[in-house]
């Protein structure tokens, strides 16, 4: 187990992730059948220190930067999209929690620096009542990726008052306060175990929340206790990178698989498929799409980091551009995998095909509301022309 005193370089985390790829790929089919990744895989992530990459140093984390998270995801995703997704979701809440009121941080990590957090989206029958000093939540929250391993869940709460700007909050709830509902049956990212949680008339005090108003760049409620640059980042403006990293990883994995597959395949004329220029062009275009996506994400991460370190606050336009780029990267990876999947013939429609899994997984990634292209594109256009933006998560 790593402790805060270990000084682990970023390349080491990436190497650990790369080394896990064959194992993750081997386990992917079973994980799909189980609708969750195994405890062993989770434990391997714990031991590699992956979940602590964005956790404050003060509380036992490594407090690194966004690009290392992207690069680790770009490796893990090659082996198994669902495993990568679990990593990306959990690691992100090291950051969210580090931005929160120190009381919330201490509740999570004070006694247990290994505590993990997931998040969940409001379902149709979820109810939020804003009361003095907090919120009361009741009903079902869905898509709770990582709930099998989490000690806490951050409920996504939206407040859209008639007379003010829309707000989003992450409100953390301890696992003793919710019940997990086993309802995760999907075609893509099937092994993420993203079940629902149910709460009953539960009061959550304000200090356990992180409001979108407080994380637009610059000081956050947690940044006095955690003075590092990380906890002053424009969280939503830059933050959906955690969904783009898996897209890059899954697409890279699909490219590996197709290239491996081609070695054995012949066209109708009996020639090796890899000698076909039409095949080469598909590989080249998908490869370049993936690399441009990856470069774009990491450049934005670096830009946001440098800007934050200089004490600059990004404008709405800047934040909307980062989010647009993030969604663009995911869309480009989807196109890359679609094109590659077409090369794999009917075999890639069979349920035990790894290429089939990558194809389903990446479409599931692109369905995450934080990276959906249409929304990000529209937010960008509205920011560019000073039209009102109703999405609190920019």
């Amino acid at each position: 187990m790593n402790s805060v005193t270990d000084d682990i370089p970023r390349e080491e985390f990436i190497r650990r992730a790369r080394d896990m790829v064959p194992m993750l790929r081997e386990r992917a089919a079973q994980a799909e059948a189980d609708r969750r990744i195994s405890d062993d895989t989770h434990q391997a992530f714990v031991e590699a220190g992956f979940y602590k990459l964005l956790q404050p140093r003060r509380l036992g984390g490594f407090e690194m930067d966004f690009t290392v998270v992207t690069d680790v995801a770009a490796e893990l995703g090659r082996g198994c999209g669902s495993s990568c997704w679990i990593f990306s979701n959990i690691v992100n809440f090291g950051l969210v929690t580090g931005m929160k009121d120190p009381r919330a941080q201490d509740e999570v990590w004070g006694d247990n620096p290994d505590a993990l957090l997931a998040s969940a989206q409001p379902g149709a029958d979820s109810r939020v009542t804003f009361v003095d000093g907090g919120v009361v939540v009741d009903g079902v929250w869905s898509f709770c990726s990582g709930v099998d391993f989490a000690d806490w869940v951050n409920l996504n709460v939206y407040n859209r008052p008639d007379d003010g700007p829309a707000e989003h909050r992450f409100m953390q709830v301890h696992k003793s306060d919710y019940e997990v509902i086993d309802n995760w049956f999907v075609t893509g990212l099937a092994a993420t175990g993203s079940r629902s949680v149910k709460v009953n008339e539960l009061f959550i005090p304000d200090y356990r929340g992180m409001s979108s108003f407080d994380v637009k760049g610059g000081p956050s409620p947690g940044s006095a206790a955690n003075p590092g640059t990380l906890y002053k980042m424009p969280f939503w403006g830059i933050g959906a990178k955690l969904f783009a990293g898996p897209a890059v990883g899954i697409a890279r994995g699909a490219l590996d698989l197709i290239e491996g597959d081609l070695e054995a395949r012949m066209g109708m004329s009996g020639a090796k498929l890899w000698e076909e220029p039409s095949v080469q062009v598909k590989l080249a275009e998908s490869g370049a799409e993936i690399e441009s996506s990856w470069a774009l994400i990491n450049r934005d991460c670096d830009d946001a980091w440098n800007l934050t370190e200089d004490g600059d606050i990004p404008t709405m336009m800047q934040r909307a551009s980062w989010r647009r780029n993030n969604s663009y990267a995911v869309m480009a990876c989807v196109r890359a995998v679609d094109r590659l999947h077409g090369l794999a013939g009917m075999r890639a429609m069979l349920p035990d095909s790894d290429i089939q899994r990558a194809w389903c997984d990446i479409h599931a990634v692109a369905s995450q509301v934080a990276v959906v292209w249409d929304i990000a594109a529209s937010n960008y256009g509205r920011a560019r022309f000073d039209l009102p933006i109703m999405d609190p998560r920019v």
């Binding site: 290239e259 081609l262 090796k272 890899w274 000698e275 220029p277 095949v279 080469q280 062009v281 590989l283 080249a284 275009e285 490869g287 370049a288 799409e289 690399e291 441009s292 996506s293 470069a295 774009l296 990491n298 450049r299 934005d300 551009s321 647009r324 780029n325 969604s327 663009y328 990267a329 869309m331 480009a332 249409d374 990000a376 594109a377 529209s378 960008y380 256009g381 509205r382 560019r384 022309f385 039209l387």
Partner: protein, 390 residues
Amino acid sequence: MTNPSREELLDRARQLAPLLRERASEAEDNRGISRDTHERFCEAGFYKILQPVRYGGFETDVGLVVDLAVELGRGCGSSAWVFTNLAMHGLTMGMKDPRCQEEVWGGNQDALICSASPAGDSNVTIVDGGLVVDGQWHYSSAVDFADYVHLQIFLRPEDGPPEHRFALVAKADYEIIDDWYSTGMSATGSRSIEMKDVFVPDYRMLSSLNIRGGPTPGSEVNPGVLYKLPFWGLGSKWFAGPAIGLALGALELIEQDLESRIGMGGAKLWAEPTVHGRLAESGGEIEAAWAMLARDCTDVMRMTGAGEDPTLLIRAKWRRNNAYAAVLCTRAVDRLFDLTGMRGMQPGHAVQRAWRDVHAVGRQLGIAWDPQAVNYGRARFDLPFNDPRV
């Protein structure tokens, strides 16, 4: 006098962009950028960024060529193209035999070199100690401002690997033929030149076999990282930079244009979600292209600095990425150009110029998608490889 910083050079380019945009139409009419624009590039020091320090150059990095081309290209694609073509030959010259460098820069550190591609009636004869060239070479961008031309020579011997050479000829050795009439990149003045049985000694040539990463004929006298770069393998970044600039310029112009336009329903066009979708996708494409080129430039400088020789697969990948950047920029401009309506078809429309120009960029053989995509595939599967420029 200290050399200008990277930021200072970029700033100079940014300040020039509006002027370039203003002059773009007239430059097209003249089929070449003005001498005044060229002189401003000289004064700004743009052509010296890859020239060896030994001869008064700045010896910066290849990434700066891309970034400067982006800024200049926002104003005028042809101007950016002239810049990149002349600037890149500071690099090829610095890789050459020191005798050739001395001939070019010994008496005049401001001497400039451009290049030209073989035409149908160009003849190359291999003789003792060099080559004899005869006939026409085409597409010599910026030839009006150059003191020398690097003729591109392709040798495809039956008993060895194909080879490419840059063969240097002085302007006293060729005649310029005023034959540049093009729909895209029309102000680059990329005329042809004609020679009559000119002998080019070996030391005035730079062979593709000697510039695949690591020591080059010139790197002993110019020990900086630049002159050990895998020249062709790093990808012809000097062609992709202007494409990004053009596309960014088109995006800026469209966004301004939209402020005054009204759709059929009477609503402002800039409030239309379909318009937002186009702007966003083109913007994402352009930034992705730029980020990828910048990353590849950083990688190639780092690898070369560390003494690592890139494999054929890596070089083919860099070239593929470069060509893909141009594909992305072309798609971006195509999508934006549709937004200009019929007005965009009128003569002198700046977005239309960017549209014509970006399509011309994609036709440059060094950046054309199909050959680079196939090169990548052939490198990936160890198939025989016949393109010497990778």
